[in-house]
Amino acid sequence: MSTKRSTLDRLVAPFGVDAETDEWSAVRRERLVAYGLLSVYVFVVWFPIYYIFITSIQPTSEVLSLPVNFLPQQATGQNYVDIFANRPFEAYTLNSVIVATTTTVVCVTLGTLSGYTFSRYNFLGNKALLLSIVGARMIPPIALIVPFFSIMSNPPLIGGFTGSLYDTKIALILTYTFFNLPFAVWIMKNYFDGVPESLDEQAQVDGCSRWEGFFKVVLPVAKPGIAATAILAFIFSWNEFVFALVLTSSEQAQTLPIAVSLFVADDFVDWAHLAAGGIIAALPGILFGLFFQRYIVSGLTQGAVKE
């Protein structure tokens, strides 16, 4: 348990610090308030997720009945069965898995290699190159939907061989590396900055080549950074919607976010089945959030705050 005092402790410290007993009760009161406020916030945050979950396990007749009920009367898994039976949900899920995994592998591989070199070596234009990679993260992706659409429909150079990439998983993988690679380079560069250089030097002294030193000595130490990068890249690509909407049109390439949006017809929404699809699309996020929170936080702060 750290003895570091929290900001709140410091802010309220002048109140009731005279006697030992006063200080104790002030601290306890303040903790109680903190617990109370956090609990309210957590409740508000989780209520909508709870509501869409119970919607997903109720038959449509019960979802569309009044008064609105907040406890399902007859829980059923039928909606989940239906969406796989009546719609190509296994195809959407598989597309999502393939696109997100491939994007993650490409971004982690390239990001780790170049992040390490940006952290360790001075080479011609390294600062300018790194700066432009970081700057690339500022480009609003949606501004590029026009060029991406035209490039994917009519790819330069390889167009003659492959024809159009429109409505293929390759188009999505290429596009998603656009969001994630600069981010991966940046996280990994910051991570390697925190790994002591004496480690690589020792490896060189022991007769390792640069490659051996990198793969055998530095890389194992960088596992937490790689995990953080991989989890974030996976989540970002899994969740992406706008480019999937623009670049795909059939279950050959459509991903889960698109599949969920397809439950919305012009003036009718099939809420019970939409909720089931939504829960499936949200599952990796919920699981990652619950089990790998530490990596998400460290990746995000490496990628955002560290200079």
């Binding site: 005092r5 976010p257 969920v260 809420w271 998400i296």
Partner: protein, 309 residues
């Protein structure tokens, strides 16, 4: 080790930098530089929607986008004004509210509470869900007949009759802002919490000895150290909100009427639905310029710290 092995090894070592950085740079050139260049280039063309023929029109797309037709310099396109205003309201309210809320929660989480890790896990989740799922989930929450919000309000007797949240321009904008705050507050919390943990302990003790008030300690001790995190949190939040289409598109599609049409949905509608790639690209260029402008202003305001960190 033979002579050839040794020289191969030396060659590979010499190629370490180009081989590790090269692929990334090539990839980035292909996937970022080329499309960005193409964006500027496409903004100068007009495409005939029927024949698909392209015609060079110079800055005509920008003119059509920003200025009233037949108007002179200074009379803006009313659509542009109205959608810019919606974007400002949407981004302004949701960033401000989520920032203040996120700061409050971050300060609470910075406390040495038992179960702090559990709370942190619980507050992070909304940010990691697909935005589309979150948007549809909130659309369902705000649904007039069977939605949870009307359910709670009516069944608890707070209001007499159900409110059609998404059929009224102002209420629909409010619903979008609520959903946006719900989704993005976790991001603010994570970034500000990391910043709070950088504040050196001794400075608080010193301020306490000097008898500084709560506010003065926040202003003079916490804030200067928090500045870099505030900069990052606000920059990323604002940029993201300007360009994010997901929530708006699935919750309101810019409606009712055009009351929640923002830049992102306008761009999508122009480029895709109305198939005017030239005007869409021109709007993309405007968004790019505005984004970099906002980043520059934020760096100016929050960029310097009085202390060495």
């Amino acid at each position: 080790m033979t002579q050839t092995e040794r020289s191969t090894r030396r060659l590979l070592d010499r190629l370490f930098v180009p081989l590790t950085v090269g692929p990334t740079l090539l990839w980035i050139a292909g996937i970022i530089v080329y499309p960005t260049a193409k964006l500027f280039w496409s903004s100068l063309f007009w495409t005939n929607p029927i024949t698909g023929a392209r015609e060079f029109v110079g800055l005509r797309n920008f003119e059509r986008l920003l200025l009233q037709s037949g108007g002179w310099l200074g009379t803006f396109n009313p659509e542009f004004i109205s959608y810019t205003w919606h974007t400002v309201v949407y981004v302004g309210f949701s960033v401000t509210i989520s920032f203040l809320l996120g700061l409050g929660i971050a300060i609470l989480l910075d406390k040495d509470l038992a179960g702090r890790g559990w709370f942190r896990t619980a507050v992070i989740v909304p940010w990691i869900l697909p935005y589309v799922m979150s948007g549809l989930m909130w659309r369902w929450m705000f649904q007039t007949q069977y939605g949870a919000i009307n359910g709670v309000l009516v069944q608890s007797g707070l209001i007499g009759s159900k409110i059609a949240f998404l059929s009224d321009g102002t209420l629909a904008m409010m619903a979008l802002i609520i959903a946006d705050v719900w989704v993005f507050t976790p991001f603010i919390i994570i970034i500000l919490l990391a910043g709070l943990q950088n504040v050196p302990e001794q400075l608080y003790d010193a301020a306490e000895v000097d008898g500084a008030s709560r506010w003065s300690r926040f202003r003079n001790v916490t804030y200067p150290f928090l500045k870099p995190s505030i900069l990052v949190a606000l920059t990323i939040r604002i940029i993201f909100d300007i360009r994010a289409l997901d929530l708006v598109w699935v919750m309101t599609q810019g409606g009712p009427g055009k009351s929640t049409e923002v830049w992102a949905s306008w761009l999508y509608r122009t480029a895709q639905v109305f198939a005017k790639p030239g005007e869409g690209a021109a709007l993309g260029v405007v968004m790019l310029a505005v984004t970099f402008g906002i980043v520059a202003v934020l760096y100016k305001v929050f960029g310097e710290t009085p202390y060495e960190t």
